[in-house]
Amino acid sequence: MPASTLGRSRSVERKLLLYAGAYLGTGTAILFLHGYGKVPWTVLAGAATAFLSFILLHFFWSFKGFGGDPFLLPLVALLSFTSLLFLYRLNPAYAVRQFAWLLVGVASLWAVTCWFPRYQALADYKYLYAFAGAVALLLPIFCGVEQGGARSWLDLGLFYVQPSEFVKVLLVLFLAAYLAENRLLLSAGNFKVLGVFLPSPRDWGPMLVMLGVSLLLVIFQKDLGAGLIYFATFLAMVYVGTARAAYVLLGALLFLAGAAGSYFLFDHVRLRVQVWLNPWALIDTAGYQIAQSLFALASGGLWGTGLGKGMPEYIPAVHTDFIFAAITEEMGLGGALAFLVVYMLLVYRGFLVAVSSRDEFGSLMAAGLSALLGLQALIIIAGVSKLLPLTGIALPFLSYGGSSLVANFILLGLLLNVSHHVCFDGAGKEAS
């Protein structure tokens, strides 16, 4: 292994992290000069610490010779820093909590890359993931608390935890392991239904049960966003594993049937759709939030009002699901597109890792995690801009919320672990 190549790739990471740091510094200076918060110095200390945590992780990786993709960490740093800046600008109290969660997130990233670099071993515990996921989703139904219309939180005294955020990662792990083992059986199919060859229910069974349980649970939790994410990720991974477009088609049909059914069964689903079709008719009630979000999106123009100069606080819950509208108001269409490009780059590097991975479990996992990351961003951005009906989910690394942030850092860690193993090959090829 040519060590020089590895060293160079980490130096790319360092350089990019410094750029992200300069960006954070500029934003911090603006907030500091404006005197946001009760103690203006906290913003400087917080920003310095946040930057330091990333750069320390980078030095740790350099020291250990970690070969993970050098672009992922700086991209995530850029998103995390933006999150801190905007939350501080919206309400310093949110930023302080998010700052604590960011440190937890970076620590989990360090733990995942340090303790489980041999991700292949993770494939052995697939039924444990299924079981843990089911328990994690059941708990809020019995002893959870409701927030924003969804009963998906657990009250742990000091803070709330949203288990469904972590179940997303468990779902990908389980599916990757299961598909890696059974994909040939599944893609062959020996069971004809409606002119389509399907594999026998014995092969399908565990996967469908896992998915069905999780979907039922999100229905009981009224967490439509999580349900949509699970289903879409499931379809994406089944496609990658089996290459059978028919499955995806069948799945999409099932989804549409389910959506139509819940439209007629559940009032809250029906209301969502009505608000999506015409929020202006319901602007005093259910349509208020999305209307305010559209106002914010439009008021930024091309280059935005500037940090702290817009009025995104008119949007209810702007710090969680609607942070993208706040960012667009103050950074403009230009800023919004820039963040879309950041997500595209993250997803692109993720899929590149998936393509270059040598083992099927690694490929499936990396593809699943990348799809999961991209889908989360797409669904919530399309939701706040009224392209799709709004389903409340967190925008990865940007929205306020500890569970989502930590879960996404774990996702990043797993992705980096897969890339660590491909990098040996890639680096070798590059050098030759």
């Binding site: 000069l33 404006h34 005197g35 994909r183 994406a236 496609y239 990658v240 594993g241 290459a243 602007i283 209307a291 559209l294 106002f295 999106l297 439009a298 008021s299 930024g300 123009g301 091309l302 100069k309 009025m311 008119y314 667009t328 403009g332 269409l333 919004a336 597109l337 879309l340 997500y343 595209m344 997803v347 692109y348 899929f351 998936a354 393509v355 099927e360 490929s363 499936l364 593809a367 990348s370 799809a371 991209g374 889908l375 961003a377 797409l378 951005i381 399309a382 801009s385 009224k386 392209l387």
Partner: protein, 470 residues
């Protein structure tokens, strides 16, 4: 499997591209509509962050001022129509609306200063506006109109500067938020600015325009003698005078306001030339275009277009009846044209705009609006108007020691008694003030409107004399 991953990757990245294009569409194509949506509170909030500038009269008397987030109008209803009001609920009117960009500091010259204010976290302050209005004249005008429906306009014929603009009944701009609904429902329409938004038949005051047209067409008209039988019949339509004036000179016809003579002059002129004369006096035109207040609510004077003008209509148009309509400012400008040698200056309200440090951002310059007639014609009509006040219908407007020129009007209308009109200016040899007064359904112009004009001319002359002595 690699191929599957690639395809999935393309699909996901493709979705991002779709979302990007859609966001561009929202921002660019929906943007303007969303920004102006009534549920979007950003515009109002932006204004609340700015301390709105003050409005002063020509002497520095405060007409509008912001204190502790409220807008105060010390003159109350006395200047309510020209100054207007600002309300989060009911919008803006008058100069508050017309000068909004200056008062909020959003005019092109303000960008840098407002940016620095915002950057340093200061409350941005808008610009102050000094008007041409005189609070004392404004107060007198409203007092003279009190209890009656009507309007009065006082202006400087040499510059176009508006010294007073009164419309009665008034309303209290200080309590508009509480009273708006009730005020808006009132039958007498207090919110309506009768000085510029109205359309009254000008009656005999319009004879000034007809006279100018007749003299311009044939200078010899001034030497003609007419025979007034007390009425004139045009294609079976009978147009009456109050008395038979007998044999009258041209000047006498104007002094006594002889309908038969002017109806005859109108018929001789023809629809085309009468219409063109009215246009050159500003009818069918808007003087506010290309000024500091381009969207000032204004209902231009109007009359029947020549191609639709029948002979009976032409005869009655020549004496300011028929379909001729005008607002009081327009009629003040007709007087100003005669006062100023045939040239009408563009009317204006804004003397200058000052930024908070006192730097002048804008200063008015008198500008010609239209050339109504030539100086010789104006001089002939002026002589007749002086005679009208000295010994004719306008005697009530005469002032001791000052040559006042004027023309009365008693305009018949379908709503009851005649509208009482008076237009005029003084001193005749070097006019400094022009005036127009209307009292709705007041009856005779010479009896009801002329005394109001007299008081306004007297005060305006003493004030302008005081201004000159400084």
């Amino acid at each position: 499997m690699k191929q599957n991953i690639q395809r999935l990757g393309y699909v996901v990245l493709g979705c991002f591209v779709v979302v990007s294009l859609y966001l561009g569409y929202v921002s660019v194509f929906w943007g303007p509509r969303l920004n102006a949506h009534p549920y979007n509170r950003r515009l109002i909030a932006l204004e609340a962050r700015i301390q709105r500038g003050s409005i002063y009269d020509r002497q520095g008397v405060i007409l509008a001022q912001s204190k502790e987030g409220r807008r105060y109008y010390p003159l109350g209803e006395l200047a309510a129509h020209p100054v207007g009001f600002v309300s989060a609920l009911y919008g803006k009117t008058g100069l508050e609306a017309a000068l909004d960009a200056y008062l909020l500091g959003q005019a092109p010259g303000d960008r840098v200063r407002m940016f620095w204010d915002r950057l340093r976290g200061r409350v941005p302050v808008g610009n102050d506006v000094v008007l041409t209005l005189d609070a004392r004249l404004q107060r007198l005008a409203m007092q003279l109109l009190a209890g009656r429906r009507g309007a009065a306009v006082v202006l400087n014929p040499r510059t176009g500067a508006i010294l007073a603009m009164a419309s009665s009944p008034g309303f209290d701009p200080n309590r508009i938020e509480e009273n708006y609904q009730a005020v808006q429902r009132e039958k007498e329409a207090p919110l309506f600015n009768r000085a510029t938004q109205s359309a009254y038949p000008p009656g005999s005051t319009f004879k000034v325009v007809t006279a100018a047209a007749a003299l311009a067409a044939e200078r010899g008209t001034a030497k003609r003698v007419f025979d007034c039988q007390g009425s004139i019949t045009v294609d079976g339509f009978v147009l009456r005078d109050t008395v038979a004036h007998g044999r009258v000179s041209f000047e006498r016809a104007l002094v006594e306001s002889c309908n038969s003579t002017f109806a005859l002059l109108g018929l001789e002129l023809g629809a085309q030339r009468l219409y063109r004369a009215a246009r050159s006096f500003g009818f069918e035109q808007n003087p506010w275009e290309n000024t500091a207040t381009p969207f000032w609510p204004y209902r231009p004077g109007s009359l029947t277009p020549p191609e639709k003008m029948s002979r009976p209509l032409l005869a009655s148009s020549a004496i300011g009846q028929g379909e001729v309509l005008a607002n009081p400012l327009q009629m003040a400008l007709v007087a100003a044209a005669i006062a100023n040698g045939g040239v009408i200056m563009r009317p204006y309200f804004v003397e200058r705009v000052l930024d908070p440090s006192g730097r002048v951002l804008y200063r008015s310059e008198p500008r010609t609006w239209v050339k109504a007639t030539d100086g010789e014609v104006a001089e002939i009509i002026k002589k007749a108007m002086v005679a009208a006040v000295r010994e004719g219908t306008g005697r009530e407007a005469s002032l001791p020691g000052v040559n006042v020129a004027g023309k009365t009007g008693s305009a018949q209308n379908p709503h009851g008694d005649a509208h009482a009109w008076f237009i005029g200016f003084a001193p005749a040899e070097a006019p400094r003030v022009a005036v127009a007064v209307i009292i709705e359904n007041g009856g005779s112009g010479g009896i009801v409107a002329a005394p109001v004009a007299r008081e306004l001319l007297a005060l305006a002359l003493s004030l302008s004399g005081e201004g000159n002595s400084r």
